[in-house]
Subunit: 535 residues, 2 copies
């Protein structure tokens, strides 16, 4: 989940100084419009220590008019607070309509710290998150715009930040023992953070993960996100007001021609300039040039296929199912990799499900329905050549799914995969990545080879034109769905052999782990199941 | 929560036979329209055994065209099912767009039975409910219309139903040992049911509790609810389609005059007749004529006030706060009852908060904000003369709150009160009920007495005109918010002395219970708190 926030994104001094005046002007204008709007803006900052939460809040107070902002950070409850229900202090500080509230170390702090320090069980943790969800949903239902930023640093980057601050006598005071204590608990903290972000990213109050290492990058990212969201919410509120008015009038309005200049609630002269930030994606940091020697490949391939054959038969005997998901660019070599896997298997033990456009029957159902129906009986391997991720890739990019639909699909997919993994199914997800040049070369090769020409369609060329849009969609997909329970494996695939080897290796490793787990736990479950049948 | 479903509601044979043909025609028409609609209808039946679930499903299959309905009930999973994640079988059976699915003993069964039979912990129960919420929300987000009916019987009524079936040789087979086993677990079942209904009554998939005792009543109630919901959803979908179309066109449409006949997606000739059912509310079953002898009252009042004084001082020493909520008809005697309470108290130990229209500052916040701000420090009593229930009473009836707002307020209020009670606050909620005639007499008496005339306003007369609407709102309020943790006390108040005595008695009882609990648990908490401060 945090992989996309450890890419070392930076923004140059020049680009920063060019963007800031535009951003500030936009923010101030938006803040003025907000003052008469019928909703408050609630901005929550969470994340890793030294990820830039405090600096960003300070900067926002500098950029915006601080008279219309409340900023709150919470320490341990005072006597006053302890005598009332926990949320009393948060309710007390909520910004009224037309204002902005910046919240730090707030309702998320105690649940996370309690969990990291083993003061609460997982169930208690979940209960605390449910409380948060109810709180935020209530505010959002009431019209509040809620933005949540998670400022992330990798473990090494956090250590570097702490060390750097300590080395400077002027900033040494900013590092305390508790900072280092937290750093030693980094993995536990990240596990809790993933759960927080997944569970509490509800509609209208979802988390945005921000890479916190570069000050200029994170400042612009947060500032721009706030500006975009406030502008959109102002517009939406205005639209909503009009629709409600219309419904009340119960007028039968025939769609009219769009006028040249759509009317808007924004007064003339208001700054509406849009800020573009350079987009660095997780894919851009993959080294697709990695290769493997042909001889080494031939030898290892046989080893792995033998190992795979053994593992699949063992899994079948134990009833351990597996699901492999293949996604990737057109012509990235998914099909070839799948063939190298099934070559090692008995046809009765697996099925390959190629996912194309849904059938009529499938279109009449929820989009996940057609994947549920393909779940196999225990002990089989199911290979999806493209998958449910189409929702957040092609359907998003081509506009087949509305924004609300693909945005909520992340949570739906995580939930679906949770059910698979919790049922004991081994799940591997592969994204095949090639460079844009390599794709072109492969397309041209296909055109030139008679027996491969059928593989290349007009659609492939069209998709290629939207490469950048797809890259953004892939990055978002990995940010939202590469979870601890079901991580993505990114496959550097310019060298087909390298890619196939990585896939074979990963599948063997995951299957072996699943088998070992089933041998331990499954044996017990089987026993109790038998007892139940007798009883 | 179930009190409103134990009123012994019935419908006469004549009324039933008059309504059924209209209802059936409406249902068949709606079903035809549904066939080309872009959503499925999912209807879930839950409830107490012999509450009429099966009979109702059979009847719906008779009333509707069964070709466009799937009906599913689930037993223990087959081998096929057990080898896949639990929800596979539900996904498999979902109705496609344009169809209706009736579900019995489905995704709610295992969680409830596991909980009732102590096979799962409360945390596991909640986890299972979270799974349900995610499932249903996903379907609803996709456009599905989800209706959930909880068919209720009181414990005695269930016993009577079982006994009656057993007594008849023709129906004896319908009662099994497991029915009686369940009956013996009635209280546990109801506790689990309340949790299910509260947690899984999410927007667009909320439960409707139906009194199951009278066959004619429950059949008409369910049939009418389905018809109304399908009609509304068809209309809403059509409206939504138009709004989306408009947004896409980005046309700036000025509100037009409503034409004489609003266009509609309903073809001419379609049956759109509305069915009215006689409404029996929880209030209509209260015996407001209950009285207490004046001498008895005078004596007991003194006893209770002494007891109350002692309890409040003890509560203060222990840090046990209490909150009393007074709601009721105008002139029902809330003020007089409050004065009889505070007469026994030290002015420093309580505050009375009269709730009128919100201030400007309060209007700029979420409606619960102004109640949060009045929460007192530990050990005090706070008396609300009218309260947050205004949202679902006056604001609902007068249209100050939109339907979506007051409907979601039930869950928000339950959540708020949970936080109070879990914090150790003693919460008593009183609804003062008088007959309409008694209210009139009191209004006239006020008009006739100089020093009371100020108490009577035009608003009182206006509210009186909407008596029936208020009665429906009160019934809904009690159904949704009389929970095990925070039950309502309904006060029969035609006799002021009787009402005051019931209130004093209830407050003393609740305070004593809260004190006893605090003495046990609070002592432990204090200890661990001290240890924490030392550590």
């Amino acid at each position: 989940m945090f992989r996309t926030a450890e890419l070392g994104r930076t923004i140059s001094k020049e680009a920063y100084h060019e963007a800031v005046p535009v951003l500030r002007a936009g923010l101030l204008d938006a803040q003025q419009l907000l003052r008469s709007a019928p909703f408050p803006v609630i901005i929550v900052f969470g994340g890793v220590d030294k990820g830039g939460k405090i600096e960003t809040i300070n900067l926002l107070n500098e950029w915006l008019d601080p008279r219309w902002i409340v900023t709150r950070a919470y320490g341990p409850p005072s006597d006053e607070m302890a005598e009332r229900p926990e949320y009393w202090r948060y309710w007390r500080d909520l910004p009224p309509k037309g204002r902005m509230g910046l919240f730090l170390r707030c309702w998320y702090s105690r649940p996370i710290l309690d969990r990291v320090n083993d003061r609460s069980s997982e169930a208690e943790f979940d209960e605390a998150l449910d409380r948060i969800i109810a709180f935020e949903r209530g505010l959002a239902d009431d019209g509040a715009l809620i933005l949540k930023f998670w400022m992330h640093l990798g473990k090494k980057a956090q250590k570097a930040a702490l060390t750097k601050l300590e080395a400077n006598p002027l900033t040494r005071w900013r590092v305390s023992q508790s900072d280092w204590d937290h750093w030693h608990l980094y993995e536990k903290f990240i596990a809790a953070a993933e759960r927080v972000i997944r569970r509490t990213s509800i509609a209208r109050a979802s988390w945005q993960i921000v890479e916190g290492q570069d000050k200029r990058y994170r400042s612009l990212t947060v500032g721009k996100a706030i500006l975009d969201a406030v502008r959109a919410h102002l517009e939406e509120t205005e639209l909503h007001r009009r629709v409600i008015g219309e419904m009340k009038a119960r007028a039968d309005v025939a769609p009219q021609q769009a006028p040249d200049a759509p009317s808007s609630s924004v007064p003339p002269g208001t700054n509406t300039q849009v800020i573009q930030l350079p987009r660095v994606t997780v894919l851009s940091r993959l080294d697709v040039s990695r290769t493997i020697d042909k001889k080494v490949y031939d030898k290892r391939k046989e080893e792995y296929q033998g190992r795979l054959n053994l593992a699949v038969r063992k899994a079948k005997a134990l009833g351990v199912s597996s699901i492999l998901v293949f996604e990737g660019w057109d012509a990235a070599g998914k099909g070839g990799a799948i063939r190298r896997i099934v070559a090692a298997l008995d046809a009765r033990d697996y099925q390959v499900i190629p996912i194309a456009a849904p059938t009529e029957e499938e279109r009449a159902q929820h989009y996940l329905w057609r994947f549920w129906r393909h779940l196999s009986r225990a002990g089989r391997m199911t290979i999806f050549d493209r998958s449910w991720y189409g929702r957040v890739l092609v359907e998003r990019v081509e506009g087949f799914a509305a924004e609300g639909e693909w945005k909520r699909a992340y949570a739906e997919i995580n939930d679906f995969e949770d059910q698979l993994v919790q049922h004991g199914i081994v799940l591997c997800k592969f994204w095949f990545h090639i460079s844009k040049e390599e794709q072109l070369a492969r397309f041209q090769a296909r055109e030139g080879t008679a027996y491969k020409r059928w593989k290349l369609t007009d659609e492939d060329w069209r998709n290629r034109e939207r490469w950048d849009n797809y890259e953004v969609a892939v990055d978002d997909m990995i940010e939202h769905t590469s979870t601890m329970l079901a991580p993505w494996t990114l496959v550097e695939a310019n060298d087909k052999r390298f890619a196939r080897m990585k896939v074979l290796n990963t599948v063997c490793r995951c299957l072996d782990a699943g088998i070992a787990q089933a041998e331990a736990a499954g044996a017990m479950a089987l026993k109790s199941e038998k007892l139940e049948k007798i009883g």
